[in-house]
């Protein structure tokens, strides 16, 4: 029995960290925030490392690893405040492979990062969590199509999605739609196609690419997968966001500990005061435990265990709480400086908010867990 990251996983995390430090150091991130840099130059290097293909089988051109390794990468990406759409690209690539889509050599291009793909999903006000409600031992019920903002009839797509992560940086959109028959159909839609409008909205987080996508009589290539793929998308999306959230939390704690060790007031480092020690002990504990929950959920998805939805909800809820706590604390414990635009604290603080909201926020996942427990 071995829990958590293996030596190889730790080595992978270290190599991701050093590549990101080299290619996307903090001053580059600040240039992107100020608009001096578009923030996409590094994507090709990241794709070349093969991470988009980590959870894809070798037969389909992937690395034959798993969701756990995707989570390791996503955690590092968030800790580095990586501006590139790496996590969303890993999500979309994995889903495309999972659908079995086999035409035009597209999967190969997506895994190599030469074709940019983004999942277009959430309709504002709709719950995102996969409705995989069932009693132990019973067959699962997959996600309901009612949550989707896009309808499809005879291959024509109509509707809108309010927050499509990184849709503006993709040339192809992977779109689930509620079909006229009541099922879920999937489509590959060209971002520049007829009837497709993608608009990046000005988000609270200057690094985020949150986009509104409108489809009016748009068409695309059909992808199989139905409700099952929607369930996978919601679980994998939630899990990768949870990985980002614990990455943000851990980096926030680390940075704050370092600062409180150096900052002196009243003749001592402020980290020697118990109020700060206790606050950081609380966020460190929650972050540490949430990280364990993320690894557990990733493994549950990789092993297709019956408790995978529950594990994902636990991880997402805990990670969201941890990140919001640790990033708020980072602002607070840095004092006045933590409130400035110039300091990085606000970038962590803001990223934690939308990462928590995507794929079901903590409250939504808690509700889901209670519903399941009630049904037992």
């Amino acid at each position: 029995m071995e829990f958590g990251l293996s030596e190889q996983d730790c080595a992978m995390a270290a190599s991701v960290r050093s590549l990101l430090a080299a290619r996307s150091p903090r001053n580059r991130v600040r240039d992107i925030v100020s608009g001096a840099d578009a923030g996409d130059a590094v994507f090709a290097d990241l794709a070349a490392a093969g991470w988009l293909a980590a959870a894809v089988t070798e037969e389909r051109g992937g690395l034959g690893l798993g969701v756990l390794q995707l989570a390791v990468v996503a955690r590092e990406a968030a800790a580095a405040l990586l501006p590139e759409p790496l996590t969303s690209a890993m999500l979309a690539a994995t889903l495309l492979a999972a659908s079995g889509y086999d035409e035009d050599g597209l999967l190969e291009d997506v895994l190599a990062g030469t074709v940019r793909l983004a999942l277009v999903h959430h309709a504002a006000g709709q719950p995102w969590v996969a409705a995989e409600l069932h009693a132990p031992g019973e067959a699962g019920v997959d996600a309901e199509p009612d949550v989707l903002g896009v309808q499809e009839e005879n291959g024509m797509l109509d509707g809108a999605v309010d927050i499509a992560l990184d849709a503006d940086r993709a040339e192809l959109l992977l779109v689930p739609a509620r079909s006229a028959s009541g099922d879920v159909s999937w489509w590959l839609v060209s971002r520049d196609g007829l009837g497709v409008a993608v608009q990046r909205v000005e988000a609270m987080d200057p690094l985020a690419h949150l986009c509104r996508v409108e489809l009016r009589g748009a068409r695309g290539r059909a992808v199989s997968g139905g409700r099952r793929l929607l369930t996978v998308a919601s679980q994998l999306g939630a899990l990768l966001m949870a990985a980002e959230l614990v990455g943000l939390a851990e980096q926030a704690v680390r940075t704050t500990v370092e600062f409180t060790g150096q900052r002196h007031q009243f003749g001592k480092p402020i980290g020697s005061f118990q109020a700060l020690k206790h606050g950081l002990a609380e966020s460190h504990t929650l972050t540490h435990m949430a990280t364990n929950a993320v690894w557990y959920a990733a493994d549950a998805l990789d092993q297709d265990r019956p408790d995978r939805q529950r594990a994902v909800s636990v991880a997402k809820a805990a990670a969201g709480d941890a990140a919001r706590m640790a990033t708020a604390q980072m602002v607070q414990f840095h004092g006045g400086v933590g409130f400035t635009w110039e300091h990085d604290a606000h970038l962590f603080f803001k990223r934690a908010v939308w990462a928590d909201l995507l794929f079901g926020d903590s409250a939504e996942h808690r509700e889901h867990l209670v519903s399941r427990a009630e049904a037992m």
Binding site: M1, E2, F3, G4, L5, S6, D9, L68, V253, V257, T260, G261, K268, P269, G271, S272, Q274, L276, K277, H278, L280, A281, E282, H284, T285, H288, M289, A290, N292, A293, W295, Y296, D299, Q303, R310, A311, V314, A317, A318, A363, H365, R366, E367, H368, L369, V370, A373, E374, M376
Partner: protein
């Protein structure tokens, strides 16, 4: 990462559950009424376990255990907790003191005491805390003066759990007041029926007699009863405290998960403002949060079990465990009082309300004993994060 149960763990679980299916009959799991009733039944259960070879499973076989690995010990705790088996009557003896005895004891001391601890012939209690030595345990003042081949003990201990039932006590004593605090202590074992010992009950908030004060007035103890060398008491105490902190979070998880399911059922049944309590969104969020926190405890236990099995350092993980389960259980108790409402404020002995009042009240001590939450946070910050002392 590989969470598949090893064949030996699976075999252990199968053998255990087969035995439990046959031997953990209903009379063991019914509510036991008062404190005395609880203790007597626990003692009988411990004796049954010992006879069947299911007591002290993690002890080496040479001392009557099964050499159970940490994951097997966790399986043991989980299965018994899940089925509501009686709590142990000699927990401190078997899971804490015996560890110190195996590490620090002479062959004679081990041969004399371990078999009796395992069979609960000798029940042990822990003499650590004093009125002036709580969180600051190194401040102990119980004086043990060496006179020839005897120690003479003068002083007192407080919060001594189960002293009223115990046969022996292991005491952290001050043998040398003239050296640095941490260097002048010795761990001394002694039977509680020696002349000069007085035990006074301390009744706790739940109305139960669990804790005691123990007074020592010129108590004479053979020198051979020192565990470890003279002056090594602090190191022996650390062995005991680590063992205490390391006690499977799995046990807590399984017990509290059961409680949470029961409370959910109550919340579904009871009504407030014209609808089931569980229909209220705020209440649902509280339950959801408790589900999350219990699952965090479970995965945390898996991590600790894995690290222990692979000989990797635990760091401050045990402090995180203790901080987390105690605060989670307190929140569960508080939620129970809200769910139960006015009706649960009046609960006769044996009632559902009384059982939940017990959970609510007894959980207030959980953030205090075995290292307060404040001390655990200090440890996590200083030793875990390297923050300045």
């Amino acid at each position: 990462m590989d969470l598949t149960e090893s064949p030996s763990d699976a075999a252990f679980r199968a053998e255990l559950t087969a035995w439990l299916d046959e031997n953990l009959t209903p009379e063991w799991t019914e509510p036991s009424g008062d404190e005395e009733g609880w203790f007597l039944r626990s003692l009988k259960w411990d004796q049954l376990l010992a006879e069947a070879g299911w007591q002290a499973v993690s002890w080496p076989e040479e001392f009557g255990g099964r050499g159970a690995t940490p994951s097997q010990q966790a399986i043991f705790d989980e299965e018994l907790a899940r089925r509501g088996a009686p709590r142990q009557s000699n927990q401190q003896g078997i899971r804490q003191f015996a560890v110190a005895l195996m590490v620090h004891g002479t062959p004679e001391q081990k041969a004399e005491h371990l078999p009796k601890i395992r069979t609960s012939v000798e029940i042990w209690c822990q003499g650590f805390s004093e009125t002036e030595a709580g969180s600051d345990l190194a401040n102990v003042r119980l004086r043990a003066r060496l006179e020839g081949e005897e120690f003479v003990l003068d002083g007192s201990k407080i919060w001594t759990s189960n002293a009223q039932h115990a046969h022996w006590i292991f005491c952290l004593c001050r043998t040398d007041p003239d050296v640095a605090k941490h260097a002048g202590m010795t761990m001394i074992m002694l039977p509680l029926d020696l002349p000069g010992i007085e035990i006074r009950p301390l009744i706790d908030m739940t109305g139960a007699h669990h804790f005691n004060e123990v007074f020592f007035d010129g108590v004479r103890v053979p020198r051979a009863n020192a565990l470890g060398g003279i002056g090594e008491g602090w190191s022996v105490a650390q062995t005991v405290l680590s063992a205490e902190r390391g006690i499977a979070p799995t046990l807590r998880y399984a017990t509290y998960a059961r409680e949470l399911q029961e409370l959910l059922a109550v919340a579904r049944r009871k009504r407030r403002r014209g609808r089931p309590v569980l229909d209220d969104d705020a209440t649902r969020q509280r339950f959801g949060d408790l589900i999350v926190r219990l699952e965090l405890l479970r995965t945390h236990a898996l991590d600790i079990a894995s690290r222990t099995a692979h000989g990797q350092p635990l760091g401050v993980a045990p402090s995180m465990t203790k901080l987390h389960w105690s605060e989670t259980h307190q929140d569960l108790g508080e939620l129970a009082m809200e769910v139960g409402g006015e009706a649960w404020q009046a609960g006769g002995s044996g009632s559902e309300a009384a059982a939940w009042q017990q959970v609510f009240l007894s959980s207030r001590a959980e953030t205090i004993y075995a290292g307060t939450s404040q001390i655990q946070k200090n440890i996590i910050a200083e030793r875990g994060l390297g923050m300045p002392r």
